[in-house]
């Protein structure tokens, strides 16, 4: 710690509602949280970015479809292409698929109901900046809250994700019908991660579970941005 505090940004769109939780988790992990307003033209020099959950732009048209064209997304796409660590949670995952930073799409849950629950998930591939402190096979209970969490991609893409070890998180008891029980994936460069479950809502033991904090601690220990 000391002088070299790592700054991690959280994008805020109209309708984001997990931005405060993400900022809180980042602070608890020992980094400096930085709000990135949707109309910001740059990322304020942060070293990692979280795209939080919520209902950006009211989920109008499709979840994430409008947020994807917000002003802050241009520098974010550039940052991601250059290998910068980006984490999308829930609506953030939806935004990142709409922006083509992650493949596939999140469809309506097969049972047509909003899921607000806890999901037991298993870490599959942990070689991403956001999961490096976990071991493959680690199990964790994380909050889930979504209407469109049903991960879908064509067969070829799914095969690629599986073969290249890009499935990061899998449900033990699938709550939404996602292909291969997928709960989280990473990009080809492994720096962009999308998760449907909410680690930021599980980052303080006072609230029942605190192990989600390791997601944010992982990015701090990630070699590229270690202070």
């Amino acid at each position: 710690m000391g002088g070299g505090t790592v700054r991690i940004g959280v994008t805020v769109f109209p309708g984001s509602n997990c931005d405060r939780d993400a900022l809180y988790a980042i602070q608890r992990a020992g980094a400096e949280p930085v709000e990135l307003w949707h109309a910001d033209a740059n990322l304020k020099g942060v070293e990692a970015v979280v795209v939080p959950g919520g209902f950006s732009y009211g989920d109008y048209l499709r979840p994430g479809a409008i947020a994807r064209f917000a002003k802050v997304m241009a520098p974010l796409e550039e940052f991601a292409s250059a290998g910068g660590p980006v984490l999308g949670v829930c609506n953030g995952f939806q935004v990142l698929t709409e922006a083509h930073l992650l493949p596939g799409a999140l469809l309506r849950n097969t049972h047509m109901r909003f899921v607000c629950s806890r999901a037991l998930v298993r870490f599959e591939s942990v070689q991403t900046p956001w999961t490096s402190l976990f071991e493959p096979g680690d199990r964790l209970t994380l909050p889930v809250a979504h209407n469109e969490g049903n991960y879908f991609a064509d067969e070829k893409t799914i095969a690629e994700l599986e073969d290249e070890g890009r499935v990061v998180l899998r449900y033990m008891d699938n709550p939404n019908g996602s292909v291969n029980d997928i709960a989280g994936i990473c990009s080809e460069g492994r720096n962009v991660v999308g998760l449907m479950p909410h680690p930021e809502r599980a980052s303080d033991p006072t609230l029942g579970f605190g192990e989600g904090l390791k997601v944010f601690e992982s990015v701090l220990s990630f070699a590229g941005i270690k202070a």
Partner: protein, 78 residues
Amino acid sequence: MADTLKIRVLVRPKSGILDPQGEAVRRALPALGFEGVKTVHIGRLVEMEVESADEIEGMCRRLLANPTIEEYEWEVVR
């Protein structure tokens, strides 16, 4: 004032993509006494007034539809 064209864009789930909305409606119809409904697919209708139809294709591809999961068609109305 430039002429206005009315455009109608139809967006729907690609064939083979799960359509839970359509499926829920298909299952609900017999409950109201409507028999013999084999399939229901639900899409989205977008009506626009534009000065030119030149850019409609791009609008569909980049925003109105998500080509990963949806297909679209559009027409000039009238």
